[in-house]
Assembly symmetry: C2
Homo-oligomer: 221 residues x 2
Amino acid sequence: MPKQPSSELIPKRVVDRIAVYYRYLQNMVDQGIDRISSKELSNMIGITASQLRQDLHFFGSFGQQGFGYRTEELLYRIKKLIGLDLRQSMVLIGAGNLGSAIASYESFVNKGFDLIGIFDSNPEVIGTAINGLLVQDVRELESFLQRNTVNIGIITAPASPAQGIADILSAGGVNAIWNYAPVKLIVPKHVTVEHIHLTDSLVSLVFQANIKKRGGISENS
Amino acid sequence: MPKQPSSELIPKRVVDRIAVYYRYLQNMVDQGIDRISSKELSNMIGITASQLRQDLHFFGSFGQQGFGYRTEELLYRIKKLIGLDLRQSMVLIGAGNLGSAIASYESFVNKGFDLIGIFDSNPEVIGTAINGLLVQDVRELESFLQRNTVNIGIITAPASPAQGIADILSAGGVNAIWNYAPVKLIVPKHVTVEHIHLTDSLVSLVFQANIKKRGGISENS
């Protein structure tokens, strides 16, 4: 029977962890570190050696006993696995404070992401430049998507217009949405949404700090 | 022998997951949903029933067979476990685009977080108001921390001043730092840092979208 790969085969937490491997490996290659042991790698990511072995299964096994991994080769395989061997073009909708901050984020370019369009509905913002890119009228988004191949749509607009923007993006061939708007988006099945919940990590921070203060988790805590 | 609880007892991924439980349960309580089955809860969070049981162990076991969980009770216990039964006071350093966006984030107040001070080094920004709060000179941060109890420091400054800011925060009694600056901070042992890597979730999004497009992970992908 032929193998039937499915997205179920790789849990979301492993997908998320592979993004972290990617960041660490990119840093190591940038710093000229050409080799890493599996122990160093698992310590760095904060997982066990057995989890690391399971994760690396997805990249194909190619480490050598007692030698470790060549960082460049591992990075290359991870990039290919993720799909970042091809550059990703992005549009951003909502050029307020958050949108401006994200549009100016320099790490994108090094990591394989190209922001090619910024859109807003505010006449005072349309026509201004952010990081060298003119803000366009959001009514132009649909025709922009007809003229350009866009992989990722970033929604930094408020909650109320977010669903309408997601509809235009989905209809325009965008199959990945990075959503900062505080609303759950309904999208066609072929579209993936990653919803950013900023407070999750803040809550996690409070919890970690309190665990430290209490000297651990106790039954009464 | 007395039980020796330690922070090792609860892995980071469980800490992070508990932040997600908190968000979902707060939403349910806000919507007036008063009961949830363990199956619904595990589906919602995207984990298995057995993982859920392990997680709930940290809150003490109190679900009833065939009845599920009272959302308000579960929320209360999670809040207490996290340490969010007490309000958290925060200062933010770096009132640029990202800092302004975070300072204006309305969800903080509902979730138990109070922003009580905003600081910047730019004379043009000092004295302006963000969300009703005056931006103060960062040189005032040290004395502000002497006069006020601050639980969390949010660093939205650029990389170069970030370590100096972290030093002032740590010396001033802040034991939790939410760091958006693209630099690894060195802090005393009692201080916890949660470093935000925005691109991690973008990379994860690309990966998820590509898994969908390919119809799964295959050995050759």
